[in-house]
């Protein structure tokens, strides 16, 4: 050979999976719930979803341009963050809520800590917590599904009796399909589970976090809050499904070790149950995930897997 070839370290073969293909799978998984959100909450939902995604992508682009880093908006991770944030705001919110929320999620929670893979908490949830603390009334102004949106309370708030309301609890069926008050994307438990199964099938996520998280909440609320009926409301109303399948499984802010993922998910389930049953707030998913997010490094540190064939050393 006249010209020497370029050598490289093995392996010489790579899988077809990329960050972009993973993020695309997440978007595909979220599609049914997105369509349901639009069906239930009409044009307002469309507007808020589009604004949230546009703001997330634009913020990522601007920051990467300003800091002279390679622009990575094509990996679709900002689109996922924007969509998840839109899922977490009420359909009645004004237009600037998703714009500010997404900008905060990308600029502060994600890029300020080094970008994709370095955020220590879930960007969409961090932004939701910020919005809730800054505009508590707007962020809890729930409306009924359908064309004539009127104010309503979420099933969990009704259960808690936190708001002076005479409303009755919606039926379990309505709750399961999502025909209830709540954030744009969190109401349809059935479609969120469907998307979650797709992510499991595509191996984007593994079973540990969703199964242990949902299982912990199921067991605790069954014992502590009214048996089977109480448990069903805790599982299918509110943000548990979206939290367990799409938020708690965020790669960067959850443990990488198998044992760590079990502990993390159990912690999420325990905190969610405690906040819902004994706290002053009807929801508990966001804060429990955020709290476990900050515990992730320490969980990872103490759950290093045992090396194949590792022998206990004497002494």
């Amino acid at each position: 050979m006249e010209k020497l070839l370029i050598g490289s370290s093995s392996p010489h073969l790579r899988s077809n999976e990329t960050i972009q293909s993973i993020m695309l799978d997440v978007l595909i998984a979220l599609l049914p719930a997105t369509i349901a959100g639009v069906y239930f909450f009409r044009f307002n939902a469309v507007k808020l979803i589009v604004l949230a995604i546009a703001s997330a992508v634009a913020t990522e682009y601007i920051i990467q341009k300003l800091t002279k880093k390679p622009v990575t908006i094509r990996d679709l991770s900002a689109v996922v963050t924007g969509l998840l944030l839109a899922f977490n705001i009420p359909a009645s919110a004004p237009w600037w809520i998703p714009v500010i929320g997404s900008a905060f999620a990308i600029a502060i929670v994600k890029q300020a800590f080094g970008g994709l893979g370095h955020n220590f908490m879930n960007p969409a949830l961090g932004a939701r917590a910020m919005l809730l603390a800054s505009w508590p009334v707007i962020m809890t102004n729930w409306v009924t599904p359908g064309p004539d949106a009127v104010s309503t309370a979420t099933p969990l708030a009704i259960m808690k009796g936190a708001e002076a309301t005479n409303e009755a609890l919606p039926s379990l069926t309505n709750m399961f399909i999502g025909n209830i008050g709540g954030c744009i994307g969190e109401t349809s438990a059935a479609l969120l589970i469907l998307g979650g199964l797709y992510l499991l099938y595509k191996k984007v996520i593994n079973w540990r976090i969703p199964v242990v998280y949902i299982g912990t909440v199921a067991v605790l609320t069954f014992i502590l809050d009214g048996g089977f009926t109480g448990m069903s409301y805790h599982l299918f109303a509110g943000g548990l499904m979206i939290g367990a399948f799409y938020m708690a499984t965020d790669y960067a802010s959850s443990p990488v070790t198998p044992k760590g993922q079990l502990i993390f998910a159990f912690g999420c389930g325990l905190l969610t149950s405690i906040i819902r049953l004994y706290g002053g707030y009807p929801e508990g998913v966001s804060y429990s995930i955020l709290l476990m997010n900050v515990a992730t490094p320490i969980i990872d540190k103490f759950t290093s897997p045992k090396v194949f064939g590792e022998v206990k050393r004497n002494g």
């Binding site: 392996p11 073969l13 990575t72």
Partner: protein, 442 residues
Amino acid sequence: MSQKSVTFKGGIHPPHFKKMTENVPIERAEEPSLVIIPMQQHIGAPCEPIVKPGDKVKVGQKIGEAKAFVSAPIHSSIAGTVKKVAESNTPTGKAVCVFIESDGTNEVCESVQPKGDLENISKEEIISIIKEAGITGMGGAGFPTHVKLSPPPDKTIDYVVLNGAECEPYLTADHRLMLEHPEKVVFGLKVLMKAVGVTKGFIGIENNKPDAIETMNKAVSSESNIEVVVLQTKYPQGDEKRLINAATGRKVPNGGLPMDVGVVVNNVGTAAAICDVFKTGMPLIERIATITGSAIAKPRNLIIKVGTPFKDIINQCGGYKEEVGKIIMGGPMMGLAQFTDEIPTIKGTSGILVLDKEDATLPEPQACIRCGKCVNICPVNLQPLIISKLSLKGMYDEAEKFNATSCIECGSCSYICPSKRPLLQAIRVAKKEIIAKRRARG
């Protein structure tokens, strides 16, 4: 298939790419006119050349003497005249090579004599015959076989396991060998079993080779103490510790050897080579290799003589049909990328894989997204993302705490990484630094 498939925990499922050659029968490559035989083709000490320019040599004549215990002698693969003894490029780096020009006679050396009835040969004699025949592991690593067969007296060996997994994509040499010469594999296994004094032998084969499983099952039907073990098709099923785990349920301790759990593992190709030594007396001078890949015009399984230049072999497979991107000795997961085709084949050349530009281009690495897939699939239960990160920062002591040296370099982590990070490459750097530091400490 009625047999249950066994396996290990972790691993990946890369595409097989075996279709091109799995149904192509083994053929003999053309006689080389010139061979370049490296004096180091195995793990351990290099051999000392015992021929000089001008000497006449015959097929099977010893030309390199192994002075150390962990080493194996080297024999001429052709008859002819020694042209020169000089340093030259080999697939594993520069080494002293003996250049022999063929005289076309293929005259066999007088020392090549059948070893007679296995019944009448003692354990010690078997091991010495295997050593003198220059038998080394033919799966790729090239560890001298007689060393594996000489465990310290405090270790009892219970099983010999033959590795017919061939879990590397593209390669089909072992597959074809089991189909076409099952009797050689079985005889070689019996020799190995006698050498270490065991009564139980296993042959592990991945379940993507049902025809080979059937053939081998038939070949061992009259052997009550030999069993074919069906393995799930998963990479790296052919790694010896994973194979032992799947076949026997035993776990080799971290940092230990198969003999620590009473097992000796050899490749099916090694067993066939041992069979040849006993039946004909011919030492290890040729082997079966798969020549394949997207840039090879006519992929084939060929018996190649050690020392034949890659270029000659590739020409016999129709040459390059596209611009060459990469030439790899071995499979795509653990094979060694070569700078040129002007290098000789060696005892460990299980395959020559030539990829076109497109297949050879590796994607740009992106930031780690902590997806944890490398942790999930690591067959040794390491955390490749963390070791790689520490290695890139030069924090080798920290990397050692994360058991970097336990890495078996199977490459599954780099394969699975959605961010296309060269994880294994970084881990290799850490391993090297840690081992160098340990040596310096003494």
